[in-house]
Amino acid sequence: MNWITNYVRPRINSIFSRREVPENLWRKCDECGTMLFHRELSDNLNVCNNCGHHMHISPRDRFTALFDGGVFTEVAVPEPLADPLKFKDQKKYPDRMKAAQKKAGEKEAMLVAAGEIGRTPIVAAAQDFSFMGGSMGMYVGNAIIAAAEEAVKLGRPLILFSAAGGARMQEGILSLMQMPRTTVAVQMLKEAGLPYIVVLTHPTTGGVTASYAMLGDVHISEPNALICFAGPRVIEQTIREKLPEGFQRAEYLLDHGMLDRVTPRTEMRNELITITRMLMGLPPQIVGDLPAPDGEADAANGGNDAAPAPSAKG
């Protein structure tokens, strides 16, 4: 291990993997309709500057903003069997996968990375709603298990950003089996005495909510995120009445005791640093510019507490 593999290469990766600036420089807010300049919107983590509406953010963009200096190392996820059920609806599953990969520019619906936030070493996993609705299939299950194993190996907390329309129907029962499989992953963290923090983002539903998304030590949600087991439409059809405004939204779940906090995306990073550092028994984070990594000492420390002494505060 040296600082080139640990620091420079991931940084280069993150620079090259950044998406091209889209031709369309303006984007309309889904909520208030304000035209937002693309650059400003992405600087504000896809939160509308006018109304505060939280729009979709890709796991890669989220990680770039989350990790110190935008630097992170991807954690490899074991490849599951492709199309184990030979599933075919109106399209074949492999064809749907190819289309999703092309659209999202990612291989699957979850990205796992290791890195530091406020010089606090963590492992993070983020689900991608833009990839087949973030649906939980075998890859997502494998990704969460890989994330937990990496966190246990490195002795770091796991921060998981959930977002899913539910299970990946095209994987049938094998998608359902990710509920117990990811629960085993959460148990690995708990037994290792490591914090497991869930950040629930819009929308988190179905089997995802009913497994790893509701088993965290701390549950934080982005504002107004839909979080539920059964979706509002299914409930309305069952009980034949209209649901009240705000039902199953983050603030509602906070009121009903299912969440610890509702926190805007722009404040999330700081909050995660504060919480993970306390749970890991680390001193308060250093606020202000961070010193550049000083080679070997820092890299050698990578697995554990890499925080500078409190006296370095400046």
């Binding site: 069997l81 049938g172 029962i173 509920m179 629960t183 497994s211 087991f229």
Partner: protein
């Protein structure tokens, strides 16, 4: 009187004719219908064999949901002694969609938990058609935890269309209750055996079926979503449930091939509801064997066995 499923209509006609003949003979002593009726019986018997020889996945769904199919309560009455129901989640309510308590199986004390759908209109409403609310899962969690502390094996009988999609259920944390129930299944250091007796509907089933051994009755189903739900999402047409049932691979036979299920328990000809006693005997024998398989293992081994089993699921696809 058997309630016939739509695909059993030809059978209903033949059996109906035989019944008519016999009724006629009872009213009219001179008539001798024995031979004719026997011929119809033979024809019906053969038709039943043919119909059930190779049920399509959708037909299996219909059999699994048959209103006269033996339910959780029937299995508990038939297989266990000294069943002592225990109620409530100690928090909000007692959910009758989930029944559970202490009982003996071949004299061995166990905890038995299951979804109960109810067998007549009044009971169906009381049991909410077997669709549990958070209280049901929290009752199960409480009973499993207790079983773990007292070293009692846990037997779960799964028969639910799914967890109840209602306002109160969401309000009181349906997701969290299901997640914790699955977690408790993985935690307890006692043998946990799950038998899917009818419908294994999605997360509501997983919450009970994360077991050391999972068995399914021959015509039961286990799926991530109902065929109707899947059809309405992927085909944009709920009437495509036959296609969806096919694609989802929700039959006991497919799930055995995928190593999700350890054992398929044979049903009597024409489904468990046509001969409940044979179904009970088959389940009794399978349960005894599964308990025996697990009897030598200590708490740590049982927990490890369960984890390994689920971590390994997915390494096997359907045969080409």
């Amino acid at each position: 009187m058997t309630q016939y499923l739509d695909f059993e209509k030809p059978l209903a006609e033949i059996e109906g004719k035989a019944e008519e003949l016999r009724a006629l003979a009872r009213a009219n002593e001179e008539m001798d219908v024995a031979e004719e009726a026997a011929a119809l019986d033979a024809k019906a018997a053969q038709l039943l064999v043919d119909l059930y020889k190779d049920l399509t996945p959708w037909r299996k769904c219909q059999v699994a949901r048959h209103p006269e199919r033996p339910h959780c309560r029937d299995y508990i009455d038939a297989l266990f002694t000294e069943y002592t129901p225990l109620a409530g989640d100690r928090n909000f309510a007692d959910d009758l969609a989930v029944m559970g308590g202490l009982a003996r199986f071949n004299d061995q004390p166990v905890v038995v938990i299951g979804h109960e759908k109810g067998s007549d209109t009044k009971a169906r409403i009381a049991h909410n058609f077997g669709m549990a609310r958070p209280e049901g899962y929290r009752k199960a969690i409480r009973l499993m935890e207790m079983a773990g502390r007292f070293g009692l094996p846990v037997v779960t009988l799964v028969d639910t269309a799914g967890a109840y999609p209602g306002k109160g259920a969401e309000e009181r944390g349906q997701s969290e209750a299901i997640a914790r129930s699955t977690e408790m299944c993985l935690k307890i250091g006692v043998p946990l055996i799950s038998i899917i007796i009818g419908e294994g509907g999605s997360g509501g089933a997983v919450a009970f079926a994360t077991a050391n051994r999972v068995a399914m009755l021959e015509h039961s189903i286990y799926s991530v979503i109902s065929p109707e739900g899947c059809a309405s999402i992927l085909w944009k047409d709920a009437e495509k449930m036959r296609e969806a049932a096919e694609a989802l691979r929700l039959t006991a036979q497919n799930l055995r091939e995928l190593a999700v299920v350890d054992r398929v328990i044979p049903e009597p000809l024409g489904g468990a509801h046509r001969d409940a006693d044979s179904a009970f005997s088959a389940v009794r024998a399978a349960l005894a064997e599964m308990l025996k398989e697990l009897s030598g293992k200590d708490a740590a081994e049982l927990v490890k066995d369960r984890r390994q089993k689920f971590l390994a699921i997915g390494s096997k696809g359907l045969p080409a």
